[in-house]
């Protein structure tokens, strides 16, 4: 059985998304991390356009353009400017070493596929297998947030998680209704700005962006 070209394209995009998620987990340099994030946004945007073409849903083209503007251009540019202004170039420190993280990541992919199995069997939409991949990349971004010590990679992990969720939304359903999608985009944008303000506040107060300074508030034992 051969799938139509568009479906193969969507599957390809899903694979790329997962691959980029793994690349992000293993990436040590902050600048590369931002490029990878932009690339992920591009994959997301292309995928949305392909789904729009395959299902003849014109509003998805708009959504694809929005993703392109927000996640490929605006947010990476913002992050880039921030790390320039804050003058951070160091390598990313991880809590667990990278090979171990990758192994945990593989386990997460298996979990995600199992979790997605009952749902994607029901999904009558064109792209059944991509739901599992989307879920896997959400979990991988989550893993990245947990294992990084600095504020900037944590934020990139957070935004990458949002990307995975969007991929799930476009591949499992034909995208959310427009008004919701606009609302989510606005939230993400405002959120990114607040993250930016935070970087400065944290830096001003602690002279560093290392999160371990932010572990003072605990229950006394």
């Amino acid at each position: 059985m051969t799938l139509p070209v568009t479906h193969q394209l969507i599957n390809l995009m899903a694979c790329l998304l997962l691959l980029i998620a793994f690349a992000m987990v293993s990436q040590r340099r902050i600048l590369r991390l931002i490029y990878l994030f932009a690339l992920q946004g591009l994959v997301l945007s292309v995928n949305t356009a392909v789904v729009a073409f395959a299902t003849h849903q014109p509003h998805l083209y708009f959504s694809a353009a929005l993703t392109l503007g927000l996640k490929v251009v605006a947010l990476p540019w913002l992050l880039h400017r921030l790390i320039d202004r804050l003058n951070i170039r160091w390598d990313v420190e991880t809590l667990i070493n990278i090979p171990t993280t990758m192994l945990v990541g593989i386990l997460l992919v298996i979990v995600a596929f199992n979790l997605a199995l009952p749902i994607s069997q029901l999904a009558g939409t064109i792209t059944r297998s991509s739901l599992g991949m989307a879920m896997a990349s959400v979990l991988l971004s989550f893993l990245m947030m947990i294992t990084r010590r600095k504020a900037v990679p944590q934020v990139i992990g957070f935004l990458a998680m949002e990307n995975g969720l969007f991929f799930a939304a476009t591949s499992a359903t034909y995208g959310m209704p427009m008004v919701v999608e606009l609302g989510i985009a606005l939230d993400v944008l405002v959120g990114a700005f607040i993250f930016g303000i935070f970087f400065f506040q944290i830096r001003e107060t602690f002279d560093s962006l290392d999160i371990h300074h932010l572990e003072k508030l605990k229950e006394k034992t």
Partner: protein, 483 residues
């Protein structure tokens, strides 16, 4: 429709005006007046719903029934009294040089913005917009938690931001799954996320997808409710932010997040033959109540103490809604009201006490009854009310929840009683020392705003002694909605 437009338009306009002039001397008065007008709009809406039944407006974008109009009224009321309290509280903070004009502007503007997002979350009919509004509510308050720019404040705000951000992302996934199931029945497009439409077809929705969706939704919104084990952000955010914001977070945001869970539970219950959603909520609720109760005795910071008490009470309310049925839902709604009113009264009193002594450390706040009897009595009576001593309203609702639990979920009763007992011992001993101990502290420069404290306590007292028939009717209608 006019009422809804006013209800949402007023805070939004207020936020814009205060963003420009929020640092002026009259900004606090403007903030309070806008909140008063919002309250009037909420009351008009309530009157309309009570007399004419549920309504939807704006091409089904908004939907108001007994359940959410009750929360709208509560939110607007506490929003108004908190603005009154904040007027005095923030002036003292400003005199002490803790606030620059810019920060004051941020505070006033975001206060109204926060009200707007909560009212939007309550009145919208679109489950997707509900999510957007919940996320926006986090975004508006996150910079307020770090308003003082202390190290601890920034840490608390960062934790709040990241944990709630991750949590709410799970809720987005849940909403996507819900849409996936709904789209099969309702077709793609805007209407498949409208709650009223979903309600009509809820028994046709795919049960497997919905049960997975509910787990994600509960974890996501549950993070904002402060359910254990997702509660870590809550005590920090409450302790480090300015007291009016602690009040709003604890009394209003938690309620709105729980509202989101309950709305989704109604849909899931219809699709599933089992009692899965209710069981999950009972489990999480009970765990939260128990864990929070045992954390109470270890607190040394007075705002953290009452933050844990909020977790305990939200746990009890979640348990009540999880149990379901007309009596338990009625009790849950009553408890929501009583808890919001009482706990905000306590936070007002605590705010003044902390300003007077210049510290939030329990061991250093002593003898409130000597230096300012009104604050002392406010705190004491508030604590007695929140601990569920009759004749206050919290007693009535806890009694109802316990008796229903004995009949329907006997295994849970001893656990609930243990949580309430441990909480009582911890809070009472600490508050007693704060109110009646010896002190050398002096009086405040500005007279404290104690009117809200006693108005709230009176209302709670009234709820315990006598629930007016129209209010009871209203609760019953709302409880029927929840099922």
């Amino acid at each position: 429709m006019t009422e809804i437009a006013l209800l949402l338009g007023l805070p939004l306009t207020g936020a814009l005006l205060l963003a420009l002039w929020g640092h002026r001397a009259w900004a606090a008065d403007l903030n309070a007046s806008v909140s008063l007008l919002t309250l009037l709009a909420a009351l008009a809406l309530t009157a309309r719903i009570v007399s004419m039944g549920p309504m939807s407006a704006g091409r089904e974008l908004f939907f108001v029934d007994a359940f959410n109009v009750f929360l709208v009224a509560l939110t607007a009321f506490v929003g108004f009294t908190t603005a009154l309290f904040g007027r005095v509280y923030m002036r003292v903070e400003q005199d002490r040089g803790k606030l620059t004009p810019g920060r004051l502007r941020l505070y006033h503007s975001m206060y109204q913005m926060f009200m707007f997002t909560m009212l939007l979350a309550l009145t919208t009919n679109n489950v997707g917009i509900l999510w957007v509004a919940m996320e926006a509510a986090t975004l508006t308050t996150v910079l307020l938690v770090s308003l003082y720019r202390t190290a601890a404040g920034i840490e608390a705000a960062w934790k709040y931001f990241i944990l709630c951000g991750v949590g709410i992302a799970q809720a987005l996934f849940g909403t996507i799954l819900l849409y996936l199931a709904a789209e099969k029945v309702l077709g793609a497009g805007g209407s498949a996320l409208l709650w009223t439409q979903l309600l009509a077809v809820r028994d046709q929705l795919e049960p497997n997808v919905l049960s997975i969706a509910f787990v994600f939704l509960l974890v996501g919104y549950g993070t904002k409710v402060g359910l254990v084990p997702l509660h870590n952000w809550l005590p920090d955010a409450h302790a480090e932010g300015p007291t009016p914001i602690s009040t709003m977070l604890s009394e209003l945001l938690l309620n709105v997040a729980l509202y989101a869970v309950v709305r989704n539970k109604v849909l899931v219950d219809g699709a599933l033959a089992s009692h899965l959603a209710g069981n999950l909520m009972m489990g999480f609720g009970l765990l939260s109540a128990l864990v929070a109760a045992f954390f109470l005795s270890r607190q040394t910071d007075v705002k953290r103490l009452f933050a844990y008490s909020s977790i305990e009470h939200m746990g009890i309310i979640t348990f009540a809604f999880g149990m379901g049925g007309p009596v338990a839902s009625f009790a849950g709604l009553l408890h929501m009201t009583a808890h919001s009113l009482t706990k905000s009264a306590i936070f007002f009193a605590v705010g003044h006490a902390a300003q007077k002594t210049g510290t939030q450390v329990i061991a250093q706040i002593r003898g409130l009854i000597q230096t300012s009897p009104a604050v002392g009595w406010g705190l004491m009576l508030g604590s007695i009310a929140i601990l569920g001593i009759p004749p206050f309203g919290v007693f009535a609702s806890e009694f109802l929840i316990l008796t229903t639990a004995m009949r329907e979920q006997p295994w849970a009763t001893p656990l609930l009683l243990a949580a309430l007992g441990v909480g009582f011992a911890a809070i009472f001993s600490k508050v007693q020392a704060m109110v009646f101990g010896d002190t050398t502290a002096q009086r405040l420069a500005h007279p404290p705003a104690l009117l809200p404290v006693f108005v709230h306590l009176l209302l709670v007292l009234m709820l315990g002694l006598y629930i007016p028939p129209y209010l009871a009717q209203w609760y019953r209608a709302a409880a029927r909605m929840i099922g």
